[in-house]
Symmetry: C2
Subunit: 332 residues, 2 copies
C-alpha cells in the first residue's frame, strides 16, 4: 500500500511508498563520518586566512577576533555590476548576471556546524542573516533574497568550514511566483493564510511535530518530499524574513540550532540543504504568504520520475521520522 | 561575467556562471569506470532469473529467448488496485497510490546500455515504450504516462542491468500543468508551437546542434540547467508520444542511441537521467505542446539555491558542450 499526499502550500502531490518503506533508523549514518580539525591552515574561511577572501561586508564583533563574517562570494555567480537590460539572441532572451552572492562564515571553528555551536553563537548568525537581508532587499533592483545552507558534498558543497549563503536576484523566479499564486488562491477561498492554518493543524494533530518554542514551530510536513524533510515556521504571520522582531530572531536561533542538532546527532551528520523561503522583497506585508525554513536531508536521490513530473516518491512516513527526531535530546 | 538565460518553454531563467566555468573536457570521467560482466547470476533482470520478477506484460520476441521484456515493478510505488477516492486528513488530502509502474529490461546483456546496443535493438526498446504507452494511456483513470531512464547511482538507481521505467499517474502534476500553461500562452501570442519555433531556431543557429536525422533534432538547450543537458525533439508536431508513426519511431531509435553513445563515450559513462516529457494522455492533439526527450547528465549537484528558487546555475556554455558532443563519432 502506498498513498498520494497533497502539499497544502503548493498543491503538489507526493507519493509515500510503503512497499519499499524504511524505518527512520535505516537512515542513520548513511555517510561515513570524518573527523575535522578545529583549524585548517588551507581553509580560506579559517581565522588567519581572511586575505584569501574579499573584504567582509559584515563582521561581529566589529573589532578583534571575529565570530561571524559575511563576505562577497569570491566565485560569485551573480555580481552587482552586470546589466539588467534584456538582449534578444535569436528567439531567446538573456541579460547580465546581476545580483549579489555572499557567504556567511558562521564560526571561526572549522569543525563545528550551525547545529553544534551554542544558541548565543547561532543568534549571531541569525543577526548576520537579518543585517544582510535588510541591506540587500533595500536595493530596488532586487526582487528576492534567498538565504540557504548546503551541508556536505551530497548537498552540493565541498567546503567543510561551516557557512551559509545569501543570493539576491533581480527577478521573482517562476517557482516562487507559482507558490505565491497557489497561496493567494487559498487565501481567496478560505480568507486565511495557508501557513497559519498549517501551524494550527500541526499543533492540534501533534504526530508530525518536532519542536515548539515561544515563537516557532518545527515539524515534518504531511506531504514530505523525502525522508526527514523538516519545516520551521514563525507563529506570527509575516511574509518576508526581514520583518522578524529581534526577540523572535533570538528564538529562531534556538529552534534552528536545536533542529539541526537533532538531525546532526540523530542521523549521524547527514548532508542536507537548509533554505529560508521568503516572499519577494516588495511583497513584504501580504496576508497570503508566510516565510519559512525547509531542511532537506540528502538521504535519497531524486531521479527521472521526480525530475519529469515534480511528484516526489518518499520512503518514510513523516509521522515516524518526527517521532524519531522528537526523541533526540538537545543540550541547553 | 555571467548571464541569465531564459528557457522559452517554461519561462524559467538559468544562470550561466562563467567565473567558475569549466571547459567541456573537465567533465570527462568524473566517475570511476567499472567493468561489468555480460551476465550476472544475481541480477533479477538477467536471462535465467525471470522468475524473480513479475510476469512480463510485453516481451519480444514473443517466444524463445527474449530481447526486450516489460514487467510490473516488483517494488512499485503505484499499483492499479488502489482507490482514487480522496480522503481528508485534518486539513490535508490524500488518496491511494493508484497507478502503474513498469520496468523495461532493454537487453539481455548485463553490461550494455541503450547507448551501446545496435540501432535495431534500440528500435525494439522504442517499440516496447510505444506498446506500453498505448495500453496504459487507454486506461481512462490515467492522465499522464512518463517514460524515463535512470543510469547510475548519482541518477538514482543502483540496478546495473540496462532498463527504463514507465510510470502512469492518475493526475497531471502541477509542474506539467504549469508548463502547459506557459506553452499555451506562447501559442496564444505567436500562433505557433514554441517547440516547433525552437527547432527552427536551433537548425538556423546551429551552434547548439548535436545531431539531426530525418525526423528528429538533438541539441543543447539555450538555457541548459546543467552541463551537457540535451533535448531530442521530433520535427513533426505531436503533443503526445503515443501518436508517433513507426517510421519516426525507427528514426528515434537511431537518434536516442547515437546521442547516448556520444554521452557515454565522450564523457566516459557518466550517470544521467533521460525523461520523455509528453502532454497528458487526454491532450493528445493540442497545438501548443510537443513531446520531447530531456537527457540530464548528473555531473553537478543542485543545491539550496536551485531547490529554493528553481533558478539553476550551470558552469558550462551549451554552445561549447554541443561542439564537444558533435565531435564524438558514432558507429553505424
Amino acid at each position: 500500500m502506498s498513498e498520494f499526499r497533497q502539499n497544502l502550500v503548493t498543491n503538489e502531490w507526493v507519493v509515500v511508498a510503503v512497499e519499499r518503506a524504511r524505518r527512520p533508523h535505516d537512515f542513520v549514518g548513511v555517510k561515513p563520518t570524518k573527523t575535522l580539525p578545529e583549524h585548517s591552515e588551507t581553509c580560506p574561511f579559517c581565522p588567519g586566512n581572511e586575505k584569501e577572501t574579499p573584504v567582509a561586508v559584515y563582521r561581529y564583533p566589529s573589532e578583534g577576533n571575529w565570530q561571524v563574517r559575511v563576505i562577497p562570494n569570491k566565485f560569485a555567480a551573480l555580481k552587482p555590476l552586470e546589466s539588467l537590460e534584456r538582449e534578444q539572441v535569436g528567439r531567446y532572451l538573456k541579460f547580465g548576471g546581476f545580483g549579489y552572492a555572499e557567504v556567511v562564515v558562521e564560526t571561526p571553528k572549522h569543525n563545528q556546524t550551525l547545529g553544534t555551536i551554542s544558541i548565543d553563537e547561532a543568534y549571531q548568525v541569525m543577526l548576520a542573516y537579518k543585517a544582510r537581508y535588510d541591506i540587500l532587499s533595500a536595493d530596488q533592483r532586487i526582487d528576492l533574497v534567498t538565504i540557504f545552507r548546503n551541508h556536505g558534498e551530497r548537498a552540493g558543497t565541498s567546503l567543510e568550514h561551516p557557512h551559509s549563503q545569501i543570493i539576491a536576484t533581480p527577478l521573482v523566479p517562476l517557482r516562487v511566483r507559482s507558490q505565491l499564486e497557489e497561496t493567494q488562491r487559498y487565501s481567496a477561498n478560505f480568507g486565511t493564510c495557508v501557513f497559519c492554518d498549517i501551524i494550527k493543524e500541526e499543533l492540534k494533530d501533534g504526530r508530525r511535530l518536532v519542536l515548539e518554542t515561544e515563537h516557532f514551530v518545527a515539524f515534518e510536513p504531511f506531504a514530505s518530499r523525502s525522508p526527514f524533510e523538516t519545516w520551521i515556521l514563525p507563529k506570527r504571520h509575516q511574509s518576508v524574513f526581514g520583518t522578524i522582531h529581534l526577540n523572535e530572531l533570538q528564538d529562531m536561533a534556538k529552534i534552528v540550532r536545536d533542529v539541526l542538532y537533532k538531525i546532526h546527532t540523530g542521523l549521524e551528520n547527514p548532508d542536507y540543504n537548509l533554505i529560508l523561503q521568503s516572499a519577494p522583497t516588495k511583497e513584504d506585508d501580504v496576508d497570503y504568504y508566510h516565510w519559512y525554513i525547509r531542511i532537506i536531508p540528502r538521504l535519497t536521490t531524486p531521479a527521472g520520475f521526480e525530475m519529469g513530473t515534480g511528484i516526489y516518491i518518499t520512503t518514510a512516513y513523516p509521522e515516524e521520522t518526527a517521532e524519531f527526531l522528537r526523541k533526540v535530546d538537545v543540550p541547553q
